[in-house]
Symmetry: none
Subunit: 195 residues, 4 copies
DNA sequence: GATGAATGAGAGTTCATTCAT
DNA sequence: TATGAATGAACTCTCATTCAT
């Protein structure tokens, strides 16, 4: 019996259901029972594919981390002037955060709930991402395009705070498109860095 | 039997213990048993003073919201130029967030865990706070001191994202004092708003 | 409301029910649900008094170990000739094993199922008991009353193997009383040790 | 594809893995998953050769029972004096128990976990073995070589208790060889039976 | 004002077994 | 002969809350 391509595989259905529920109710408030019911499978099936509830969370993290890291690498590697590269990186991260708002919401509310070793791995990956971003800021400061009196890591934390907060207020279908919010955010960041 | 003045009252001890534990482990991961053990009282005593675990959370919120609202009102009501008032408000909220980092961490990680009606009340109070802040931005835009091409609510969300994120990276005893971080953050905000 | 003295306390009822069920079905095959049902209480009540299913087992062990240790110390401390003391110790341990056959059966079938640290504690206590018994054998060997060509620890293991095996065949109400079995066993041991 | 002769057959590998794991952790604590992993096969393969986890246990029993029964028959059928035959039978059972310590450990800890009908079969076989041994004791008592004031079945249970207990203390590579322990045990038994 | 025994529902996880392929 | 996805029931344990004292 060949499965219709339209019907998602069991692990994919589980991941989708978990993502939605975790974003809506939080990780701790979502029971494995709810997840498997939403995915239309049994608990046993879930534990066949994922070692634990924690693993579902890790997978969701992995997905979004990979995506954003790829985007950043691509933009950073172009030949454009550094101010331009930073602007595009900033705008991209806003857009992709909004486009994956569920994943990001979960990410921000639940990293600290992961088992220690997984939590460490995820944080390490996240740190690398921030460091790549910081390198752009420092490059611009050395080139004299950005003010040099603000520590680059403070700038990065300042900006990513704003980005992480998007899930708290942005509603799709609202006044502004993801692209517009990205432009506003990138403007505010770049303007703040003018020498 | 007269209690030594040095020993805090039972409700205060409970609130202190709950604050610390909620910040460390999250609301859902902290059991009532742990709280009462840390406070050195029994469960019965806790339920005598607080109707539920939820009530402890609401109380913690109330405390920090009241504090920050007061500060903002005070600064906003001065006669200084609007740019100066916004700078001081921004700096103040950073400093007081850092000084009450446990409360703020809990606030940000756990609002969505409150029972609906309490959650609504807290959010409403928070919204009023943000609106007061936004009014400052709009005043500056009308006065021509801030660029007018950025919606004021976007600016507010942009900045409070940064502030809320402080708990994720700031460590007391680190390189920068609360005051210094406040200045950097206020600078970045104000510079971003230059026309 | 004063409880009738006849009605056993909750922890005692739990211990009794657990003892019976563990002996009948084995530790792993007995569910907490079965235990609390047999004791007429809820699971919550059980976990109020015992930290885990393991704790029930440890408690049962403690009871029987204490009992047998006391008996041995009492006999060993008398002034009788060593052969007489060993005979009585041997007989006593048979009788008390038969009288607490459920506890002993559990003991023998389930020590290795205890959590490592508890298992270690129980084994250590057991070893002390065996060493006390061995000291009697060695005393008799030095006094020339027992043959000296058999290592005392081998003798002890030989005999306690027999004792531990009682649960596998002895049925109360059978042909022989506990006392009679004790005499036969003590005879076989002592005769085996004749020089 | 021809398998190398050195590589054991799948059922044999399963039996070996199960024996080791059952002896180490107990039957109930060992999952089918662990067994197949240790044997390097899949669950499906196991259920192809064995109807259930229980069947593995029965097979292990069968193996050791057959072995020991054969040995006893051989010794009992010789022409030597009865005391000599009993001595050799006793010594043999000690040696073969030590040489198959894993199987015997499992046997003793897990017979009661078998499904009723299989358990009955195994016990019956075991009983026949004990009866053959008892017959030797009785023969010696009738011949006046052994004291007659001890019921032969008590003697048999006394001795097999000791033998069964070997797994609880004997460690290969220790002070005494299997042969030496066998001699000591046989000595203690025979000396105990002197008239 | 304060205790702590007791509840009862539900949590995450494990597991022997089945069956379409 | 062999696979491995999937089942479904049972498992131990946790917890916020209640209430007689």
């Amino acid at each position: 019996m060949v499965r219709p391509a339209a019907e998602d595989s069991v692990p994919r259905r589980l991941l989708a259901a978990a993502t939605k529920l975790f974003a809506q109710q939080g990780y701790d408030r979502t029971s494995v029972q709810e997840i498997v019911a939403a995915a239309g499978v049994t608990k046993g099936a879930m534990y066949h594919y994922f070692g634990s509830k924690d693993d579902l969370l890790s997978e969701i993290y992995g997905r979004v981390l990979r995506l954003q890291t790829e985007q950043l690498e691509k933009v950073a590697a172009t030949e454009a002037p550094v101010a331009e590269r930073l602007r595009r990186a900033a705008q991209d991260v806003v857009v992709s955060t909004i486009e994956n708002l569920d994943d990001m919401t979960i990410f921000l509310q639940s990293v600290h709930l992961l088992a220690p070793e997984k939590s460490r791995a995820v944080r390490a990956e996240r740190r690398r991402y921030h460091e790549r971003f910081r390198a752009l800021v420092e490059e611009g400061q050395r080139a004299g395009e950005f003010r040099a009196d603000k520590p680059a890591d403070i700038v990065v934390d300042f900006f990513f705070g704003s980005v992480h907060h998007l899930g708290a207020w942005y509603r799709s279908g609202g006044r502004l498109s993801a692209r517009e919010v990205g432009e506003h955010y990138a403007d505010l960041l770049l303007a703040g860095l003018r020498p």
